[in-house]
Structure formats: C-alpha cells, structure tokens
C-alpha cells in the first residue's frame, strides 16, 4: 500500500466526493462536475491516488452505441477508509485546520 496522499484542498475535495456512495463507479467528467475541478487538476490527482492504491479504475462499455468506451473510477476499500477518517478529522476540526488529520 502506498503512503498517505498529501492533503491538498483539491485532494480532500475529490476524496469527499468519491466517498459518497464509495462503491459506485464514476466517470471522469462526472467527477469534474461534482468536485468543480478542471480536468488538468483532476487527472493528476486520480493518477496519484491510483499509484498509491487508493483508487481503482476500469474501462466500461458506453451507454449509447457509437460512443467509445469510458473510464470509471472508485475508491478502493483502503481509499474509502482513508476518506472516512479524513472526513471525521475535519468534523472534529471545523476551522479546517488539518493538524493531526489522517491526510496531513
């Protein structure tokens, strides 16, 4: 298992969105819209999370014919646990200070 990712604001945003119904697979564009992150920010984060074993990715067939297959992403079990711990740490520290948090 990789080291815990650094807690940039964008990483926490992405983890928070992925943690909602963590078992569900999501497309990149959907994640971009839900997090408000542009693709140039989102994908380097997805790549890093995947490298560290927190995210899994797969190809999936398109819903409509004639469209290319798409990527889907979701947190691994370890990633989901990490996101939950991070969320709990933020609730304990509502000012947003990450001292002692899992991702710090």
């Amino acid at each position: 298992m990789g080291r815990k990712p650094r807690s940039s604001k964008q990483t926490r945003q992405l983890l928070a969105v992925l943690a909602i119904d963590a078992a569900r697979w999501r497309h990149g564009y959907e994640l971009s819209q839900q997090t408000g992150l542009k693709s140039g920010t989102l994908y380097p984060l997805l790549i890093r999370l995947s490298d560290q074993g927190w995210l899994e990715a797969r190809w999936t067939e398109p819903e409509r014919e004639g469209r290319p297959p798409r990527h889907e992403y979701r947190l691994t079990e370890e990633g989901a646990a990490l996101a939950r711990e991070d969320a709990a740490a933020r609730i304990e520290q509502p000012e947003g200070r990450m001292k002692g948090a899992v991702l710090a």
Binding site: G2, R3, R6, H27, G28, Y29, S32, K38, S39, G40, T41, L42, Y43, P44, L46, I47, R48, S50, D51, Q52, G53, E56, A57, R58, W59, P62, R67, P68, P69, R70, H71
Partner: protein
C-alpha cells in the same frame, strides 16, 4: 464537426503523444471521455486539461529519473555549501585555523580571508548555528530526493527560509551593516561578480524547489493498480 471540436481532438491526440507510455491508460481515458461531453467549449477545456496533465506527467517522469535526480544533487549540494560557508569560516577564525581560513578565503572574491575579519568578529553564535541548521535541512532534502520522497521540497524550503530569516536578523546586530559594506564593497564594478552571480544565486533556490517537486510528486505506478 465544429472547428472547436476538431481542435479539441487535435489537442487530445497531442496529449496522447506527450504522455509517458506507462501512463497511456489515463490519456486514453481522457480522450474517450471527451466524446461524451456534449458542449464544444467544455470539451475544449477538457482537452486543454489533458494536454496539461500529459506535460506534467512527462516532465515529472524526466525529473524523477535517476540520472536527473543525480544531476539535481549538484545544485542542492551547492546550496548546502552556500549555507555553511560563512559559518565554517567563522568557526575556523575563532579556532585559529588559519590554514582552513586561507583555503576558504581563496575561494572568495578578493582571494583573501583577511578582509572578512571585521565581519567574523561580529557574527553572533546563533547566526553560526542557523547556517548549520539550514545546511542540515538542505542535506536532508538531498537524502529525501534520493529516496524520491515529496518531503524533499519541504526540507529544502525550510532550509532556505532558515537561511533567509537568519540573514535578515544578522543585519540588526550593531555594527554589522557597516562591516558588511566594508567587506563587500569593491572599487571596480564587474557585471559577473556584482550582477549575474547574485541574481542567479537568488533564482537557483526557486528552480531547485520546482525541480524537487517535479522529481518527487507521486510515486511509481503500482502494477495492477488499474485494470
């Protein structure tokens, strides 16, 4: 197909060429995802992000390579040397090690340590200690770079900040500014010594910090991490 859409496709194709082979999975995903974005403007912005991601990964792959990290050690060690040079000279002077002083002085503009004596007399102990702390932090950064740990950037910045703060505070020592003027004022003006080298010395830490970030961001892909 609209011109914007064509341009977006061209950008994504470019991103696929730039992206390192080991990351091809991700640009393929970004490229295909674009076909599912209805709005041309949004697809264009998506493609721009794809190009940015590809270049970031490419540059990181280059900076993260062992030869490049080895090359990066040179400016890092230069920074260590710069952090501890004056402090070592001060210690040598206090210990009466004239041999060491002579060698170190020959490496300075003017080729002689004697002109530094007014400064060496005034430098407080905490300034000497701060230099070694800064040097140790930059050295720790070098170690972390070898291990390819992102904390290399933090250690490096901490070292530079300690150095800058100490440098700022030492000017408050009574008589230090006059002594510094006496030591560092030269009769003639040389472009290289008085302009090029000082400006470069200020820019090098910025270059190193960015390079360290690029060399240590993320980790190597785990086999089987993606399907």
């Amino acid at each position: 197909m609209s011109v914007v859409r064509e341009l977006s496709r061209a950008l994504v194709s470019h991103a696929r060429m730039v992206m390192p082979e080991s990351r091809a999975f991700w640009t393929a995903g970004m490229a295909n995802e674009m076909a599912h974005i209805g709005d041309d403007g949004a697809a264009f912005r998506w493609a721009i992000g794809g190009v940015m991601t590809a270049y970031l990964e490419r540059v990181s792959a280059v900076f993260g390579s062992a030869p490049m990290r080895g090359l990066l050690m040179l400016p890092l060690l230069f920074e260590v040397m710069q952090a501890v040079f004056a402090q070592t000279m001060t210690l040598a002077w206090r210990m009466g090690a004239t041999g060491v002083l002579g060698v170190m002085g020959s490496q300075t503009p003017g080729d002689d340590y004697h002109r530094f004596i007014p400064l060496l007399q005034l430098v407080p102990n905490w300034y000497v200690v701060s230099g070694f702390v800064a040097g140790a932090l930059v050295l720790a950064s070098a170690v972390q770079l070898v291990r390819r740990r992102p904390s290399a950037v933090i250690f490096f910045i901490a070292g530079i900040v300690v150095g800058i703060v100490a440098e700022g505070l030492v000017h408050t020592v009574p008589g230090y500014n006059d002594a510094a003027r006496q030591v560092f004022q030269f009769k003639d003006v040389r472009t290289m010594r008085d302009l090029v080298i000082p400006i470069t010395a200020q820019l090098v830490p910025i270059f190193i910090a960015i390079s360290l970030w690029l060399a240590t961001r993320g980790t190597r892909p785990r086999v089987g991490a993606v399907s």
